[in-house]
Amino acid sequence: MRVSLHMTINRPHPRPASLSKKAASAAAFLATLGVTTLDAVPAGALSLAPTTSNDTLELPAEFNTYLESDYTYYDAEALAEIWGLDEVYDAKIKLGTLLQAGADIPIEPGSTQPVPQPVDATALALDAFWASDYAYQDALELAEYWGLENPYDAKIKMGTLLKAGYELPIEPGEMVGPFTFYNEIGYTWGDAEDLAAYWGIESTNDAKYKAAALLEQGHQLPLFSRQVALVNWEHYGYGWGDAVELSEYWGLDHPNDAMFKAGRLLKAGTVLPNPPQAASWQRFVDEGYTWADSMTLANYWGLEDENDAKIKAGRLLKAGVELPSVVDA
């Protein structure tokens, strides 16, 4: 039961007659992924070559002139450089315009050699690595094992060995090195970032190595993990509103940062500047104050939100301070 395209088409959004620069740029990006042999799409079209449908995409005539010429993509790239154009697409259009006018072109068609693409040993080794069941974690392990500087080098070595038919020292996912411990006790990438900041190390990976090495030697890390911080944060009844408040108080960029910092302080037995908002709010309600009271107090204190008044009042009550006489319990 095939339905004919032109009988039933219902197209409220006609596509423009030619591709804009943005669309051409998106198409060019897709072309780098090998997405070139596409059929005509009803309302848009990725296909740069004319199709057999009545409904083909109209490219600028200059672009077609370029396509029909013997100039290659690499020539256009070189011309973009010569003419000082940011986009290769613009160079193709200019080239087409000049060809139509019969003007001189600075270079001969096909004269530009492509910049060697990474179809070299490294790329092939990485391909082999990606095609295998081994992952980043394994590369970390083996970088340690082989004494390589970073997991990237390990990936290349792993890929090279795999391609040559050798077996690797570990199975995919098998953890043997110090990271076992680092991972098992709940440290994550985020913790490595925090540790890097704490130690003043630029690379998060380096911080992770250092942390793993310390743990292996039986040392404690200077920071509790984010996971432990969050457990404590929640255990003491703190919530998102508190995180926002504390991030302002401490001048931190994001409430999450305040949450981790506060959770670590709580775990270490430190009392935070304020009790949790939820508990303060509850205190206010438990003492018999009403919503109308919170409105009165918000007015009295010049707060925009009556909820802020509830929290402030609850904290005062907890500290044993009497509320202003405008309200009565």
Binding site: F29, T32, L33, V41, W130, A135
Partner: protein, 334 residues
Amino acid sequence: MAGIDRIGIEVELIAPVGGSRRNLADHLAAACGGTVTQNWHLDSEPSANKSVGVFHHMTPAFDVVDGAGRPVARLVDDITIRRDLDFDAAPHPGWSRVVSDDPRFLRMLSGFLAPCGPDLAAVDDIVAGLGLVAEHKESAIRLVDDSGASVALLAHMPGERQRVTELISPVITGDRQPWIDLVMGAVAELGFVVPHEGATHLHYDAAPFRSAQPFRRLVTTFGEHAAGMRELFGTNPNCVRIGRLPEAIDQIVNATDFDEMPWSEIADRIAPVEGLAKYLDVNIINLIRSEPPIDTVEIRTLPSTASASDLAAMVNQVDAVMAGLLKPAAHACA
């Protein structure tokens, strides 16, 4: 093509005046010797009452299975489709909708109330079994508990909402053409058309995108190149629930050590990004969750169509794009 073998297709359509999504369901069932069952479709909508925030509602949905009992399609309402409807039209006979501020009430009630043709007089008895009282109002029935608190509202469905048809495929493995031919053939025969705000959404398995390289390509395509992709896809400018991925994600995927990161770390970084939502050009919410309810990546910027060949062309196009994003390594040059 590895990784994109399975697909889910959703097309937003509208029935001709006087028709409903039920007609399409019946027609489809007849075409494949199957049957139709009516069910409730749960969804949410922003509430006019600010203190509630979101209202949850359920409306009649129709599930079509073929002669062997295999699912063929599910046809549901879509609240973003509005412009082509006559809001003053009288309620569609027999159809009702249920509204509540808590989806749990709706799931509970869905087992007891029929979506189409419930005997409104019998509602009293049905809800009494749940300890609820039905207060009959002029245009609706309010269901309250014994303290008088409102649990849900059972109302008629005015304003031609029965015409709205979001056509949802089951999971299709391999060749998409047979499903497209069957379903869009019925669409064409009944004269369903493309609504003003209409879109087509395609779901692909999320798992293959859970690693640095494919994820970066996906994000580049629908973030950095979002505007160009919309033009290439012919995105409906009247589509309301789309948007480019937050720019903060561009920065994350372009970090020098991004390719070295395992997926868990990538997900940890993406999840807290402000502005990340389901209703963007690509829905990656389920991709970054560890236990998603639907494990898919959803492409949301395709226009709606009432034509089988248009739909097939669009699906081919997006298949090719998704397969490109998943290729092991890219050496080609534009």
